[in-house]
């Protein structure tokens, strides 16, 4: 019992230590970020609104996303939401791109 718990804590710690810098290191390059912003404004904007205030898709403003986990949002972007118009973007975006988009949305993308 105890041992298992300790192992778990240690593994979690190692994973956290490993994954934190890994994610930070894979942040998209400046040029890529500019592309992503264009994509967000225009291609995501065609459903979510150019200023992310919503359209056929829901608003993606900071307050609208406040209660939803990063993981859920990243998965939504990469794999879409079947049964709804939200399409998967994995063919064009990798997890680091999606994570950066979520970060930008949370910070409030300027129109």
């Amino acid at each position: 019992m105890w041992r298992a718990a300790i192992v778990q804590v240690i593994t979690a710690g190692i994973l956290a230590a490993l994954s934190e810098p890994a994610v930070a290191a894979s942040e998209p390059s400046g040029a890529r970020q500019a592309q992503l912003l264009e994509l967000l404004k225009h291609d995501c904007g065609s459903c979510h609104g150019l200023t992310m205030r919503g359209g056929l898709g829901p608003p993606l403003l900071p307050q609208a996303l406040a209660t939803i986990d990063d993981a859920v949002l990243i998965e939504t972007i990469l794999d879409g939401r079947p049964g709804t118009p939200m399409p998967p973007w994995r063919f064009q975006l990798d997890p680091a791109d999606a994570a950066w988009l979520v970060k930008s949305l949370r910070a409030g993308v300027s129109p």
Partner: protein
């Protein structure tokens, strides 16, 4: 102020001199609007006013808010353009004076609009809060509000069009209904509901000058058809199961049904999530064919005489335009008018087509007979193009 007056005079003089360049318009105010139009510069909250006889930009009007997905209706005298912005802004533009005449922000999130048969009412459809608002076309004063509530649940409204006998038709995305609003008593709209039309109607359009209203469905393979001459017959499903059970592809941009091509008794419909245009007979409403295309169609628009249908596509195939020959039901021409083609608009009799290439910051003008590029206009992230000839068409 006084110091810059001579400069202003020179500018005015220049404007008058350049205006001589288009026929019959020595005085810029003494001209018709039949060859005028509007180009939406979606990211800049700006429109250009253009004329199609020489294909030039006349002026621009700024301060119109979020214009993604913006659309335009024209007053029946062709003088005013009503611009429906995504942010709920309704702007009335004087095409001749080249200025914003009036603007109201009427909802949080809008999707489109239409002008009534008699030209006196403007209806705007909204996502948030979902419903339709009706305004006086002159003053933009709110006259009536039609919330799209079904069992206490709000719905996004799509596919708003004007219909004969002073009405509007629209569809409820969340509820899956078509509503007809009779606004002949302007402050007391009477609504007739048609429920259970299918899942997630995403847009709607009229066929045969308002005989039929059709809503495209996102959540099902098929479309919902309402015969406005016989509304008691209810809504019928057409093209049911057109995907034949195959999984649709993900949709990166919803097709637009406004301006759907109707030519030679046939209706040309963008298939949702498929690289196809579906062809339906407008008498029997049976499928008569499908035309394989370069991508998922967004707009399929007929040249006004009906001989050709021009199609553009969703991301990632949005640099291509294809031309379908209606006589042979075949794609006869594929080309790239530029990056991210957003919209196409024909001149009133169709000898030219204007195409917006958003990521090239260009609008390109082609001859529809020779398919030759005639002219290029600079525009910042252009999207919709709307010509004043729409003023006299039902359902636009």
């Amino acid at each position: 102020m006084t110091a810059c007056q001579p400069f202003v005079r020179i500018l005015i003089l220049l404007a008058i001199l350049t205006s001589v360049a288009w026929p019959g318009a020595a005085d810029p105010l003494l001209r018709g609007t039949g060859d005028l139009g509007v180009i939406i510069e979606r990211a800049s909250g700006r429109i250009q006013i253009v004329e199609t006889s020489q294909a030039t930009k006349l002026t621009e009007v700024t301060g119109l808010g979020d214009l993604s997905h913006a659309s335009v209706a024209f007053s029946r005298d062709g003088r005013f353009a009503y611009v429906f912005g995504r942010d709920g802004g309704l702007s009335k533009i004087d095409l001749l004076a080249g200025r914003l005449e009036r603007r109201v922000v009427q909802a949080g999130n809008a999707i489109g609009g239409a002008i009534s048969q008699d030209g006196r009412l403007i209806a705007v459809s909204n996502y948030e809060p979902g419903g339709v608002k009706v305004f006086d076309a002159i003053s933009l004063e709110l006259i009536a509000d039609i919330p799209a509530m079904t069992d206490g649940v709000p719905s996004k409204v799509v596919g708003l069009v004007d219909i004969p006998d002073q009405g509007f038709a629209f569809a409820l995305y969340d509820a899956g209904e078509i509503w007809l609003a009779d606004v002949s008593d302007r402050s007391q709209p009477r609504v007739r509901r048609f429920a259970g039309i299918g899942r997630q109607p995403y847009d709607g359009f009229i066929v045969e000058q308002g005989r039929y209203y059709i809503a495209g469905l996102f959540g099902e393979d098929g479309l919902a058809l309402l015969d406005l001459w016989r509304p008691d017959g209810g809504v019928k499903r057409i093209l049911d199961g057109y995907g034949r059970g195959e999984e649709p592809l993900p949709v990166y941009k919803m097709p637009h049904l406004e301006g759907v091509a109707v030519a030679a008794g046939l209706v040309f419909l963008p298939a949702v999530g498929r690289h196809e245009v579906l062809v339906v007979d407008s008498r029997s409403w049976q499928e008569v064919g499908r035309i394989a295309t370069a991508g998922q169609p967004v707009f399929a628009i007929a040249r006004p005489d009906g001989r050709q249908v021009w199609v553009n596509f969703a991301h990632p195939d949005n640099a291509t335009v294809q031309v379908i020959d209606v006589a042979s039901l075949a794609v006869v021409h594929s080309f790239s008018p530029g990056k991210a083609v957003m919209h196409l608009e024909f001149t009133p009799k169709g000898e030219e087509v204007w195409i917006s290439a958003r990521d090239d910051d260009r609008v390109r003008v082609y001859a529809t007979r020779t398919l030759r590029l005639l002219k290029e206009l600079a525009a910042e992230k252009p999207s919709g193009i709307f010509f004043a000839a729409r003023a006299h068409r039902i359902g636009y």
